[in-house]
């Protein structure tokens, strides 16, 4: 028996921008139609956007597929086509079994309905019988942790509660195929871990997961195979470790500076990134043991209270070494429209190796950019034959004589490092 449950053959999806834009009025369209009837009238050109181009894909039952790529690479569109929310412009997409999708934070929830009603609504959408849904209701409510608000309309939920319930519903209504887009963008670490565990168990129970995320570490831990989408096309497909390494390598440039197109309509966009060594020279070849800086050029097109950014650095394998937010350290950040250069100095803590810099731009409510591969860097130097490790830390070492009868003189300065070392339990 053929065990393929997802099949895409030469799938393309085109979006038209321009004349017949959404929300056009009937009156305008009729007037436009009449104008076109006149001889000599030409059809105005419309801008096209190919969100997917000739995508071929096969996914077997009981496996997890990761999808990586930049913003606008077509990751969300692929899920929309798989879930049948939208139809491809050409090509065929086929799925076998029930498909549940968790897209762009939130599944098919109706804001006016209560949490409980939305659970039934989603079950009915999946084609389940009322009894089947009732049987799983407790499980869903418990997983979501929103039992106190289960009879409150969804529109009063916080984004975290909304997401919890959405994930609980999608995962527990026993779909044969679970499509998950970027759930890890919100929610606390505990909930994220629960989500990943659930996805893993969905896979183990013989069902199929397609997972889109910027968190390459999560993709690497959950998905054996992955697809890298670039400009709507599949750039690479195969073992997740290979795909992720290739994807991250694509950010590499010789000199330390990269520029980007401003994104139309986005309140904040990243115009460029520059990596400088300790002398201030723009380069991505850095030496271990020296601090370096990362500078972002950001444009705000309007006043954006709470504007924030984060810089994160990951290894080529996708393991995130650190992820630091501007607001963690600085309270008074600019919010008015204009161009800013935001810089952060990274102390000498990274070991020799290749790293990838990711950037996040947004506010506490919205993400405008989350790109895990905007720049790549290489740290060079001697590893002095030490075992492989991610970070090098300037640990403060102390010692004290623990011999019998000597009184145990503490010979250190009593700073916070010492306190930390004293209070931590040693493994027995």
């Amino acid at each position: 028996m053929n065990d393929t449950v997802i099949e895409m053959a030469a799938v393309s999806k085109r979006y038209l921008l321009g004349e017949d834009h959404p929300g056009a009025s009937l009156r305008e369209t009729l007037a436009y139609g009449v104008r076109r009837l006149r001889p000599g009238a030409s059809r105005p050109r419309r801008d096209e956007l190919w969100s997917l181009r000739d995508v071929d894909l096969e996914v077997a039952r009981g496996t997890s597929l990761g999808i990586v790529g930049r913003n606008g690479a077509g990751k969300s569109t692929i899920l929309k086509v798989l879930s049948r929310i939208t139809e491809p412009t050409s090509g065929i997409s086929r799925t076998r079994g029930r498909v549940a999708a968790l897209l762009e934070i939130g599944t098919g929830f109706h804001p006016e309905l209560s949490g409980r009603e939305n659970i039934y609504l989603n079950g009915a959408i999946l084609g389940m019988r009322r009894n089947d849904i009732s049987r799983r209701l407790d499980e869903i409510v418990e997983f979501s942790g929103v039992s106190r608000f289960i009879d409150t309309p969804i529109k009063r939920y916080s984004s975290g509660m909304y997401l919890r319930l959405a994930f609980a519903v999608a995962a527990h209504l026993e779909p044969d195929i679970l499509l998950v887009d970027e759930v890890l963008a919100v929610g606390d670490a505990e909930f994220q871990r629960k989500c990943l565990d659930t996805m893993a168990s969905v896979e183990r129970s013989g069902r199929t997961v397609v997972f889109v995320s910027h968190d390459l570490g999560a993709i690497a831990s959950l998905c054996a195979t992955s697809v890298w989408l670039d400009g709507g096309r599949i750039r690479r497909q195969g073992q997740t470790s290979d795909v992720v390494a290739d994807y991250l390598a694509s950010a590499t440039t010789a000199d330390g500076a990269r520029t980007f197109q401003e994104r139309a309509g986005a309140p904040v966009s990243l115009l460029g990134i520059t990596v400088r060594d300790h002398r201030g020279v723009a380069t991505t070849l850095l030496s271990r043991g020296q601090a370096f800086s990362i500078s972002l050029r950001i444009r705000l097109s309007l006043k954006l209270p709470g504007m924030d950014c984060a810089i994160y650095v990951a290894t080529r394998a996708g393991t995130r070494v650190f992820d630091e937010m501007w607001s963690d350290r600085v309270a008074g950040r600019p919010v008015g429209p204009g161009e800013y250069e935001v810089s952060a100095v990274i102390p000498p803590c990274l070991n020799v190796g290749d790293y990838v810099v990711g950037v996040w731009l947004g506010t506490s409510y919205e993400t405008f950019l989350d790109d895990p591969a905007v720049a790549a860097l290489r740290l060079e130097g001697s590893t002095s034959d030490r075992p492989e490790r991610l970070v090098e830390l300037p640990l403060k070492w102390t010692h004290q004589d623990a011999g019998v009868g000597t009184g145990g003189i503490n010979n250190t300065g009593g700073d916070s490092w010492t306190e930390l070392n004293k209070s931590s339990k040693l493994p027995s």
């Binding site: 369209t29 049948r84 491809p88 109706h110 009915a124 959408i125």
Partner: protein
Amino acid sequence: MLPHIAEITGWVENSPASRTGLRPLLEVLHHRDLVRFLALRDLKVRYKQAAFGLAWAVLQPLLGVAVFTIVFNRIAGVAAPGVPYVVFTYVGLAGWAYLSTSVNECSESLVRYSALVTKVYFPRAVAPLASVLPGLADLAVASVALAVLMAVTRTAPGLPLLALPLALLSLVVAALAVGIWLSALNVQFRDVRLVLAFFLQLWLFVSPVVYPPDLVHGSWQYIYALNPSVGPLGLLRWSLLGIPLNAGPVAESLLVALALLVAGLYYFQATERRFADVI
């Protein structure tokens, strides 16, 4: 229990050719639990302000009856065949209230559920279908006042009462036939609702709501019967009040409603693939 479409074909396909033929209709059948859920939900919302919701279903036709009895019956001298004008008009107005409310709800159905349409797949025709069902509850409520009215005026229903389900079905078909067009158009053109208010007003005047269809004579009857409300309202009055049916025009009107529905489903199917991109 109807098997899921995936159990029939093994695969569910999404391609430019997949939403054609009878397949989308089969899918709607499979999702009848969803139809029921959405219809019941609408009903609950409508009757949430319970006392007023119930009162409105009775008051609306009653107030109409008062006005139209004075204007048409007393002043203009319009009479009803064989039954008191008050009862005749009450049935017409109750039927019309169902039609206009349902067409209105139906035209808004997809836009109202846009949060769902963009996030999850379900057979899109479920939304307009579910939106024409809650109006039937209004009719049930209105029928209580009708019973009182008939008792007072000593109008007894006869055997045709058994055909009431058929009359109701024809009302639903007529509402859906007009509404399904509007629901799809409304996704693409947001000024549909402005046109709709005007359209409903005109439709009321050309429908046999406050005057009997016999006012129209000769071959005009057949032009008049192109109106899909003529048949259902005729059937409703025949089954409740025993007013004789003018078979030709009624049959014609029912056929028009059916044809409009089939064409509407076809149009709906042709445009539903773009709903999520456009809404």
